[in-house]
Every structure is written in structure tokens, then in C-alpha cells.
């Protein structure tokens, strides 16, 4: 009741619509009437005219109209606006009464019916005595009417009916009951709407006409009333622009009223109503800024109009309502499409409403004493059960003078109001408003505002003694303040939360909040912290803590009994509290001494603890849990017997742990999964403060950052300090266990580069520097995995260097067992690598072994390994070039069939190391080896074609390699050669030299290589250097396949190189073969010595000089 006193009346908040009463419809029993009524009511969308319809019986009594006042001279108004007025015009006094009557134009009993209808109209008229309400008649007809003017009967009868009923033609309607009912109804209601508008227009005129009778001294209230009425009628008329104008006038008039304590509430109530209307219309006209401006003006004008000091809470309640209803209007406008912004949204109004509700609550607490009893004759009762005028006091209604008429009544009235106010659920109201505001701020992206309001909500729940909800809200926002590091706010929230936890006797929450309030983030004073710490110790020893200050005494006593119940409960006195996300009073940081440990080293771990509370704090156990739980046993420290470990305020305490890793964990990571500190003891209550990982809390990351900034600046100062700076302590929450450092040397010796296809020897020397025996030494050698995939196919590794390995040999030899290695012992192994392709390769030599060792008295078997890698380039050993020459060493571009020629190979070594080719060796780099082969091409059916000459095999090895190392076969494909066939072949038997004036016999053999008889003409040209005997010119025939010999005796005349006499040969039958082509087969020159006594010196000159090491003169048959 008291809460609803401030609610705006629904007739104020609704949208006024013209009121039209329908009579003569029997909607219960008559289906046709029902259908008509449904068509009026159903589907009233925005496009239909704004009318509110009501079905009333034909003889309905409308509110009586008071007799018109003829003079206002002696009239003193009793109030501004009657409480029933708005409702009267919305729902009771119609603008138009419509009589429905079933009558067809050709009704046989027309006369009787017509008079019945007239009677009914008369009844309605009588009950509307004195009102300007219009009356209309609708004839419900079964027949579809003819177009106007065609039905003469109809127009005649309509005229008589109008006469009988005293209606104008405009007020008589026909409603044919056909298929198109809705269409007719819509036309009907539009006509009704026009009538209603006329009605409201006359009403406005009527009210306006009063104005001239009013005088400013006694009728001030009436000015407001009349303006309000005009505005309201304008609204009913749907003339919102004028309505707004009149409301604005009414608003300024209401503030012109003489205000005093007795009528303050009435003025404010009316001001509030009018303001509401104005704001509503402004939003409706889509001028939200006008609405906001009006509201601000309204608040500024009314803020100070408190009224009676004893009822100050009423003012707060009223203010709260003003903000709330504006917020609702704003919100509604947004739902209809208005856009709000962050700094101007309904949330602010709800928030302010909540704020005033809080004021109201405070004032109510101050003004409404608990002891008073409710006055006996109920002062708030009125005869009518309600008020006559808005905003008046029930005990002095209509009283308008400055002083209350009866001081005693005034007193009891106020007392009654105060007592009523005491029962108002203020907190509920505040929370509802706050949650509205929260919803809005969430929508408009104000997270901090939202948190702030949630804190207020939490506090309100606390005041309403709903501690569970309070804690839920406070807990929710605490972390926001924690992450944004607003310690002052956090402390305030925690203090409230602690009170809640205390009053609920929630042990765990109580401990958590104590811990945080004692911590470094708390801005509490020292004595507060001392008190809290004392309480915390009490809880830990299972005692009831002292009450928090500022809790009311009744709640405290309830809480005390709750606490003693809790303490009496046996068991369940162990609590684990995850403190990572708080800022607890004990800080914890832990680290592994190093990010990695060798398996043969003890793993060292340090835990640092520090207390921020004012008193030293003692604890009984510290334990670290690790990812491998087997190590946990080594990382526990417990107080022995009676003595507990204690932390001094502000001092850092360090705990060292060390343990030996298991050999299985090599290559694995050990992580700290949590740290626990146990406070209290089994005898009282055990509280485990538990940190995840390596400790730290909600604030430590930022502190570390801050510390690193300052240490960068003050690095030197820091070095000077003895104790490590807490903030700059870094946490190391994991460590790697890595294998023991091998004490073994692996050396590689080889002679790079590797030569293509050779068995490249890499010698591996493994020497143990261990103090014990290295067991199970294993060598993995070969191509390092992870290189180009092709290399795996073109690389072959073997330990057997005695023969050339084949393609089946792998690229990597895994785990070659080498046995045990005593201290100092040395092993040497050769690994042979065959690289089929050139280019660089990375080879890996991995030696693994195991060894027994002791760490801190524990025997462990460690696996160690040592890796060596080497990059080896592979090159081709030599390049081979081949050329064809004639037997006279003339280069040949084509080869004659069946005639010997020479093949010469030049082998150019590109190896930096000397090579041995088969059995002879090449000593110098860049030197070339040439071999000569004498070849003859067999005759072929298709002459003048190219033929493949085959392959050239070279067997070789490094010169430096041992004699039993295998020879490597390198195959060189020889170039193709062009073949030609010659019909005639001529060669000469010539001695290697001649002597001056000694006969020199030369025999020419002429062979016919064709299947035809060849005729040969031969002539010897004279020469200065020779005399000769034999046929100078001859013509002869040679049979196919046979040869002719010609013998000449030359007689040299001069010494030295002499050109032999030219032989001219021609084949008349074979003109393509001429002297020139044949001459190349013959020797051109001969060396002529002096007489025999000088033969020694001449003999020193050889016919050929070359650097041949070896000359093979094979007569190979090609192909």
C-alpha cells in the first residue's frame, strides 16, 4: 500500500483514446451481435482509429452531470485535480453512445419498430442528461443496401426515423450483416471517431469558457485544473501538439501556486503528473532532447521542495519515482526505435531513482522510530475509501489554507505515515531499481558503472540480510576491481563481504576475506588488520570470532549462535582454499634453480614465503606437488612436534628442497603443479592455502613488471641490497631433466672431399674419459636424418671397406654394438661411405653408452650419448674427354670403315688427392692421362651413319689407399662417331727413315673395297729430294676385294724431313674418290739421315714425342 502510494495512476500513464459506448448489442446470446462486437475489438492495429469501445446496456446510468455553475464568485476550489476525473473521461463518460437496432427498410412492422427505436434513443438521452455526448443509431440489416439514392423507400424511412429519434442524418448508420462485416465496421468507426472528435472539441471549448469567470487570487488551483483538463481532452482528441502546449502551460501554472507545507505534496504530485505527460508526449513526438530538458527542469524546480521535514522520506520517494518513471519512458521510447548513447541512457535515471530510494530508506530509518504505536482512530481512512484530490492528506482533504486545521490530527496523521513507511521493503525497491540500471549499463557498454551498481546491490542485499545474494554479487565484481587494481574499492567490498560471511557464519568465505583483507592489497588501517588477524587465528583454533563492527546487534547474536553451532560440528575441519586468484596475506613464489638439470645432478627447488599481516603468522606444513608425484615426498616440510614454522611480517623466508630425478624422466619436463601451506592444526582447523603452479597471485604479475622497470633503472642499487627483492623474484615453474654430460670423446678423421662412388673412409676414434666402465657402447653412423630425401638413396654406409658396397647398403647404420669401454680406452672404427651423387652431406656419428653413477648416495644408471656431425662434400674424381685421330694423329671428324684410327682419352683429375688408375698412378693434380686405342670399324651395310663407340671403363682408387682396397670402376660413355666407307684403300710400307744416297724401297698396297672392278690411274710426280725408280705413270685394274702392289725405289738426295714424291691416283669409275681423299692414308714425309756415321745424333730425334705413360695399340674391332 505504502509503496503503491507513489505509483503513477494507470489512467495517467495510458494513452488516452476516445471513449465510445455501444448499446443494444447482446454479445452473449446473439451471434450476429457477437460478430459485430468482435469486429470492433479484434485486431485493433495502429492503422485503426484510436477509440476505446465498451458494450453497455441500453439503460446504462452514466455519471451524473453536476449542475452548471453560473458564477465562480464565491467558489473556493478544494484541490487541483479530482482523483476520479481522468478515469471518468476515459472509461465512464462516452464521447458517443451508439444504439444498435435490428431493422430492415422493408420491415413489415416498420412503424412499431421505429417507435421502439425512438424510445431506446430517448432512454439513452435521458441518462446522459446535461452532457454533450452524441448519440448515433446503427441499423443492423440483413439485406445488402442498394446504392444511395436508388432505394426511395430507404431514404424516406431513414428521414422519418431521424425525425422520430431526433437525430441528424449524419448520426444514422446502416450496417448490413453480410460478408464484408469488417470493412463496414471500419467505415463505421471512422464515422464514430469524427463524432467523438467533435464531442471533445466542444468539451475543450466548454472548459475554456470558464476562464473568464476566474480570478487570480482565489482560483489559482482552477487555472491549473482547467489547463490540465484542456490538455487531457486534446489528448483524447488525438491532438497531441496542442495537448503538449496546454500541459506546458499547466506545468508553469503549477509552479506559480503558493506552496507551503500543507499543499506541497499536492503541488509536487500534480507537477509530477504533468511532467510525466509532457515527457511522454515529447518522446512520442520524437524529440527526446526536449523530454530530457523538461525533466531536468522539473527536477531542478522540485529538488528543494521537500515539504514537511517529518515526512522527508516522502520527498525522496517522490523523487525516486520521478526518475524511475522517466527512465521507463526513456526505455519505452528506445524500444520503439529511439537510439540512446552511453552518456545518456535510461540507466542513469534508474540509478538516480535507486539513489533517492536509498535516501528514502535512510530518512525513514531516522524519522520512523520503532517504538511508536499506530494511532487508534485510523487517521489515513477517508469516508470514500480514497482521496478526492490527488496529493492531499486524508485527514484534511480539501483544506487549502496555510496552517493545518487541527494540530493534533496533523500529528497523528504524520505518525501513521511514518509507521507505514517503516514497513516499506526499501531494500527490495532499491535492488529492483539497481538491477534495472545494471541491465541498461550493460547494454550501453559501461562495465565499470555496472560493477559499481552491483556493489551497491550487494550492499543493499546485505542490509536486507540476504547475505547469500550479497556475497554472490560482491564476489562477482571483486575480481574486476582486483584486476584493475583499485585497492580502495576492493577493500571496501571485502569489508562488506567479510561482514556477510561473519553473519552467515560461512567459515570458508570468512577465512578467504580475512586473508585478503590482511594482504597487501588491503588499504585497512593497522589496528583493523590486527583485529582481523586475531579473528582469523580464532577461527583456525576453532573458536568463535569477534563480531565485525557496524553489524546490528540482533544479527550479531544470531550469528554468534550460528558460529558456535559450526564450531561444535565435529569433522570436516579441513579446508582447501585456492588463493591464486586472490591477493592473500601470505605470498608464495617458487622456482627451480635452473631451467634444466642433468640427470646426475640433484634437482634444486626453492619456495619463498612472505607474510603481509601485522603479526607473525605460523604454519605447520609446506608442500610442493610436482607433475611426477613420486617426487612430492622430497618437497614437504612439516613442523616438528610443538614448534611450528613462522613467518615474520614483511620478511621473506626461503625453503630449499632437492631431490634426484629418475633416469626414466630424462628428456621430460618436471612442473610444479601446486604449492600448499597448511595453517592451523588438526586439533583446531586446518586450512590449506593452495597455489597453482609456482605460486603468485592476482597482483604479482603487475608487481613483477613494475619491479623490472625499477630494477632496470636502479640495477646498481639492487646489487648492493642483501635480501632479494620480493617483487623481482621470478618464478620458474618447470625444469627439464636432461641426460648426463658424456665424458667421452669422439673424433673423426677423413680426407675430404669424398670422391664420387669411392668407398670414402671416415675413421672414428672413441676414447672414454669416464671413471667407470662405459657399457653397451653403440655407434650410430651415417647420413644425418632430415636432409634431402634423395640423399638417402644416393648414400650408402658400410663398415666393410674391403669391397665396393652395393645399393642395398643403408644410408644410416643404427646401433652398431661396440662393447664396453674401460676408462681411458680408445676404440677406432672405420666407416665407409659411398656417395653416388655429388654435393654436400651431413653425417652423424652418435655414440651412446650407459654408465653407473651415484648422486647423493643413490646409485643410478645413466644413459649418455655424444653426437658428432660432419659435412662432407662429394666431387667427381676426374673428367674424361675423348677424341678420335687418325693413325697419323690428325683429328678426325669422321671415321673410315675398316681403316684403323686412334681413340685418345684425356683424363683430367679434379681430385685434390692423387689417384691410382689401375696400376699406374697420377702424381700431380691437374695432370692429364691420355690413352690411345687403335680401332678399326667393320664394314656396315649402311655406311655414312653415326655409330656409338661404347663405354670406357676406368678402374681406380686413391693412391694413398692400401693395396687391398678395392678398385672402383668408373664408366664413361664414349661419344658417337660418324662412319664413312671408302672404295679404295691405299697404304704404304715405308721404312721409318732413309739415308742420303741409299736406296729406300716403298711398297704401296692398293686395295679395292668395292664389289666392282676398279680402274686406277696412278702417277708419281717428280721430287727434288728424291730420285726414284718404278712406274711413273700406270693404269691398272683391280679386281673386287683384291689388292695391287706397286714397288718404288726412292733414292733420297737430301737429309732431313723430306716430302715423299706425290702419288696421284684417280679412279675414273668413281669420281668421288680423288687423289686428295686417298692421299690421307699415305705417309707424307720421311726423315732422311745423313750417311751412316752421323746416324747416332740423328737417332736421338724420335718420330713421335708425347707424354704417354702407356700406349696400348689394340686392334679392336668395334661393334
Amino acid at each position: 500500500m505504502a509503496g503503491s502510494q507513489w505509483e503513477l495512476p494507470p489512467e495517467l500513464c495510458c494513452r488516452p483514446m476516445a471513449f465510445v459506448a455501444l448499446t443494444g448489442l447482446d454479445v452473449v446470446y446473439n451471434a450476429v451481435h457477437r460478430a459485430i462486437w468482435d469486429a470492433f475489438c479484434a485486431n485493433r492495429r495502429a492503422d485503426r482509429v484510436p477509440i476505446s469501445f465498451k458494450v453497455l446496456p441500453g439503460d446504462h446510468e452514466y455519471p451524473k452531470c453536476r449542475t452548471k455553475r453560473t458564477s465562480y464568485e464565491w467558489y473556493i476550489p478544494k484541490g487541483i485535480l479530482k482523483t476520479g476525473w481522468m478515469n471518468k473521461h476515459l472509461n465512464l463518460v462516452p464521447a458517443l453512445v451508439v444504439l444498435f437496432y435490428e431493422l430492415d427498410w422493408d420491415d413489415p412492422q416498420w412503424k412499431e419498430k421505429q417507435s421502439e427505436c425512438a424510445t431506446k434513443v430517448e432512454i439513452v438521452r435521458t441518462s446522459l442528461q446535461g452532457r454533450n455526448t452524441k448519440v448515433a443509431v446503427v441499423l443492423i440489416q440483413k439485406k445488402t443496401p442498394l446504392p444511395p439514392g436508388e432505394d426511395l423507400v430507404a431514404s424516406e424511412r431513414a428521414a422519418t426515423l431521424c425525425n422520430a429519434c431526433d437525430l441528424s442524418g449524419k448520426s444514422l448508420f446502416v450496417l448490413p450483416h453480410t460478408d464484408h462485416l469488417v470493412g463496414y465496421i471500419i467505415r463505421l468507426e471512422n464515422a464514430f471517431y469524427e463524432h467523438a472528435q467533435t464531442y471533445y472539441y466542444t468539451e475543450i471549448r466548454r472548459v475554456k469558457s470558464h476562464k473568464e469567470f476566474l480570478n487570480k487570487t482565489t482560483h489559482q488551483l482552477l487555472f491549473v485544473r482547467h489547463q490540465f483538463k484542456i490538455a487531457f481532452f486534446s489528448e483524447l482528441k488525438q491532438d497531441t501538439q496542442n495537448a503538449l502546449k496546454y500541459y506546458r502551460t499547466a506545468y508553469s501554472l503549477v509552479h506559480e501556486l503558493r506552496a507551503h507545507e500543507t499543499n506541497m505534496l499536492e503541488i509536487k504530485t500534480m507537477a509530477g503528473f504533468i511532467n510525466y505527460k509532457i515527457c511522454r508526449l515529447c518522446f512520442q513526438h520524437n524529440t527526446p532532447l526536449d523530454a530530457i530538458a523538461q525533466f531536468r527542469k522539473h527536477i531542478d524546480l522540485c529538488k528543494k521542495k521537500i515539504g514537511s521535514a517529518e515526512l522527508a522520506f516522502e520527498h525522496a520517494a517522490w523523487m525516486s519515482k520521478q526518475f524511475q518513471s522517466f527512465g521507463e519512458l526513456f526505455d519505452e521510447a528506445i524500444k520503439l526505435g529511439l537510439t540512446a548513447i552511453q552518456t545518456q541512457n535510461p540507466g542513469f535515471y534508474y540509478q538516480q531513482a535507486a539513489c533517492y530510494s536509498q535516501d528514502r530508506k535512510q530518512q525513514a530509518q531516522q524519522l520512523c522510530q520503532a517504538g511508536a504505536t499506530y494511532p487508534s482512530p485510523e487517521p489515513l481512512d477517508t469516508q470514500s475509501g480514497g482521496l478526492d484530490f490527488y496529493g492531499q492528506r486524508p485527514w484534511r482533504q480539501g483544506h487549502q489554507s496555510i496552517d493545518p486545521p487541527d494540530a493534533e490530527k496533523e500529528k497523528t496523521g504524520i505518525l501513521a505515515l511514518q509507521i507505514k513507511e517503516r514497513d516499506v521493503p526499501h531494500s527490495e525497491l532499491i535492488i529492483a531499481l539497481l538491477s534495472n540500471a545494471v541491465a541498461q549499463f550493460k547494454k550501453y557498454k559501461c562495465p565499470r558503472m555496472k560493477s559499481h551498481l552491483m556493489v551497491q546491490m550487494g550492499e543493499e542485499y546485505y542490509h536486507a540480510k540476504d547475505y547469500t545474494k550479497a556475497l554472490k554479487l560482491l564476489d562477482y565484481v571483486m575480481c574486476d576491481y582486483r584486476t584493475e587494481r583499485w585497492w580502495g574499492l576492493l577493500t571496501a567490498i571485502l569489508t562488506t563481504a567479510l561482514r556477510c560471511a561473519y553473519l552467515m557464519a560461512s567459515v570458508k568465505d570468512y577465512i578467504i576475506y580475512c586473508m585478503e583483507l590482511l594482504g597487501r592489497a588491503s588499504t585497512l588501517k593497522e589496528e583493523q588488520k590486527l583485529r582481523i588477524e586475531k579473528n582469523l587465528i580464532k577461527v583456525l583454533t576453532n573458536e568463535v570470532p569477534d563480531a565485525e563492527p557496524e553489524c546490528d546487534s540482533s544479527s550479531v547474536s544470531a550469528a554468534k549462535s550460528l558460529w558456535s553451532d559450526r564450531m561444535a560440528l565435529a569433522g570436516s575441519n579441513e579446508l582447501t582454499i585456492e588463493v591464486q586468484d586472490y591477493i592473500p596475506f601470505i605470498q608464495c613464489k617458487a622456482k627451480f634453480q635452473s631451467p634444466s638439470f642433468h640427470v646426475d645432478q640433484p634437482i634444486q627447488l626453492q619456495v619463498f614465503l612472505r607474510a603481509d599481516c601485522p603479526h607473525p603468522v605460523s604454519f605447520n606444513k609446506l608442500s610442493v606437488s610436482l607433475s611426477n608425484q613420486e617426487y612430492n615426498q622430497w618437497c614437504v616440510v612439516e613442523s616438528s612436534g610443538q614448534e611450528s614454522m613462522s613467518l615474520l611480517p614483511g620478511k621473506t623466508k626461503r625453503f630449499n628442497f632437492s631431490f634426484v630425478a629418475k633416469t626414466e624422466d630424462v628428456g621430460k619436463k618436471i612442473e610444479m603443479t601446486g604449492i600448499e601451506v597448511m595453517l592451523g592444526s588438526d586439533s583446531g582447523r586446518c586450512v590449506f592455502m593452495s597455489w597453482r603452479g609456482a605460486g603468485g597471485d592476482a597482483a604479482s604479475t603487475h608487481e613483477a613488471l613494475q619491479a623490472s622497470r625499477s630494477s632496470r633503472r636502479w640495477g646498481r642499487c639492487l646489487e648492493a641490497r642483501q635480501e632479494p627483492d620480493w617483487d623481482s623474484l621470478t618464478m620458474q615453474h618447470s625444469t627439464m631433466i636432461i641426460s648426463r654430460v658424456p665424458k667421452i670423446s669422439v673424433q673423426l678423421s677423413h680426407q675430404p672431399p669424398a670422391l664420387n662412388n669411392e668407398m670414402y673412409c671416415i675413421s672414428v676414434t672413441i676414447q672414454s674419459q669416464e671413471e667407470g666402465v662405459a657399457k653397451d657402447v653403440k655407434l650410430t653412423a651415417g647420413l644425418k636424418p632430415g636432409q634431402d630425401a634423395n640423399l638417402g638413396q644416393t648414400t650408402h654406409v658400410t663398415l666393410d671397406g674391403s669391397k665396393v658396397c652395393d645399393d642395398t647398403a643403408p644410408a644410416l647404420l643404427p646401433d652398431v654394438p661396440l662393447g664396453d669401454l674401460k676408462p681411458g680406452e680408445k676404440l677406432e672404427w672405420c666407416v665407409y661411405v659411398k656417395c653416388v651423387s655429388t654435393g654436400p652431406r651431413v653425417f652423424l656419428f652418435h655414440v651412446a653408452y650407459s654408465i653407473d653413477t651415484t648422486v647423493e648416495g643413490r646409485q643410478i644408471v645413466c644413459k649418455c650419448h655424444k653426437d658428432e656431425t660432419v659435412t662432407i662434400e662429394t666431387v667427381v674424381p676426374f673428367e674424361v674427354s675423348v677424341k678420335f685421330v687418325s693413325t697419323k694423329f690428325e683429328p678426325l671428324d669422321r671415321v673410315a670403315v675398316d681403316i684403323p684410327f686412334l681413340l685418345m682419352t684425356d683424363i683430367l683429375s679434379s681430385s685434390p688427392w692423387p689417384l691410382l688408375l689401375a696400376s699406374s698412378s697420377l702424381q700431380l693434380t691437374g695432370e692429364s692421362a691420355s690413352e690411345c686405342f687403335c680401332l678399326r670399324c667393320p664394314p656396315l651395310t649402311n655406311s655414312n651413319s653415326t655409330v656409338a663407340t661404347g663405354q670406357y671403363l676406368i678402374s681406380w682408387r686413391r693412391y694413398s689407399s692400401s693395396a687391398d682396397s678395392p678398385l672402383i670402376q668408373t664408366t664413361v660413355t664414349l661419344p658417337h662417331v660418324i662412319l664413312e666407307s671408302v672404295p679404295l684403300y691405299i697404304h704404304a710400307d715405308v721404312p721409318s727413315f732413309g739415308r742420303v744416297r741409299e736406296s729406300l724401297s716403298v711398297r704401296y698396297h692398293i686395295e679395292n673395297r668395292t664389289a666392282l672392278v676398279q680402274e686406277v690411274e696412278m702417277a708419281v710426280e717428280p721430287s727434288d729430294a728424291f730420285m726414284f725408280s718404278g712406274l711413273k705413270q700406270v693404269r691398272l685394274r683391280i679386281l673386287p676385294g683384291s689388292e695391287q702392289q706397286m714397288l718404288y725405289n726412292y733414292y733420297p738426295l737430301m737429309a732431313g724431313y723430306q716430302t715423299l714424291p706425290q702419288l696421284n691416283i684417280s679412279l675414273p669409275r668413281c669420281p668421288t674418290t680423288n687423289t686428295h681423299t686417298l692421299r690421307r692414308f699415305l705417309p707424307q714425309r720421311i726423315f732422311v739421315k745423313w750417311l751412316s756415321e752421323s746416324s747416332g745424333s740423328a737417332g736421338g730425334r724420335r718420330l713421335h714425342r708425347c707424354s704417354l705413360r702407356r700406349t696400348h695399340t689394340h686392334t679392336n674391332r668395334l661393334l
Binding site: I299, Q342, T343, C355, K445, C446, R448, M449, Q706, R713
Partner: protein, 112 residues
């Protein structure tokens, strides 16, 4: 009161992000009136390094116009820059500077 400051950061944040999108570096540091409330007027100012200044004025105080507030912020900013330039000051630590305190309390006295 600090809750009040805290909530005003919502608007600061929104304003910065809105400005950041459009103008980039050439940002007006003075953000103007942040919040309409019943009792106070809150003004905001954000430096280029996102240091935020907030001035809260009693709503009834009408002597301070926008321009005065703006110049107060400028003064504050200059003084703050001086503090930051002090090699003995560690950014993030509470400001302990007599000069800065003097400027601030000078403003308080001036506005009454």
C-alpha cells in the same frame, strides 16, 4: 568517490576508442564533460600515452566553464610531464612530488 572515478573510465574508454578509429594521432586530448550526474560534473582528459586525468566539479559550481577546465587539464598535464621526466621517478609508482602537489592544491584553492 573513487567508485565514481572508476565508473567515469567507462566513458573515457568509449571516447578514446571512438576517436582512435577516426583520427589517430591528431586527437584532442580534452574529452570534455563525461558524465551528467545530479551532484557532480566529471571532465576527462587523456594524454597521448593514455594517461587519464579526471576532474570532478560540484554541479552547483557554475563559475568553471569549459575553457577553464581545459586550461586546468593543460596545467596538470605539464606538471605531470615534469614528474615523469624526473629520472628518480619510476613510472607506475605513486607520485611524490611537491611541485605536482602544489599545482593540484593550487587548483583546488582557486576553484574553492
Amino acid at each position: 568517490m573513487s567508485a565514481f572515478l572508476h565508473t567515469s573510465l567507462d566513458v573515457v574508454e568509449e571516447k578514446i576508442s571512438a576517436v582512435g578509429k577516426s583520427l589517430g594521432d591528431q586527437r584532442e586530448l580534452y574529452l570534455g564533460l563525461l558524465y551528467p550526474t545530479e551532484d557532480y560534473k566529471v571532465y576527462g582528459y587523456v594524454t597521448n600515452s593514455k594517461v587519464k586525468f579526471v576532474i570532478v566539479v560540484d554541479s552547483s559550481n557554475t563559475s568553471l566553464r569549459d575553457n577553464e577546465i581545459r586550461s586546468m587539464f593543460r596545467k596538470l598535464h605539464n606538471s605531470f610531464t615534469d614528474v615523469m621526466c624526473n629520472p628518480f621517478h619510476n613510472p607506475g609508482d605513486p607520485i611524490q612530488s611537491k611541485a605536482f602537489d602544489g599545482i593540484v592544491s593550487g587548483m583546488m584553492v582557486q576553484t574553492g
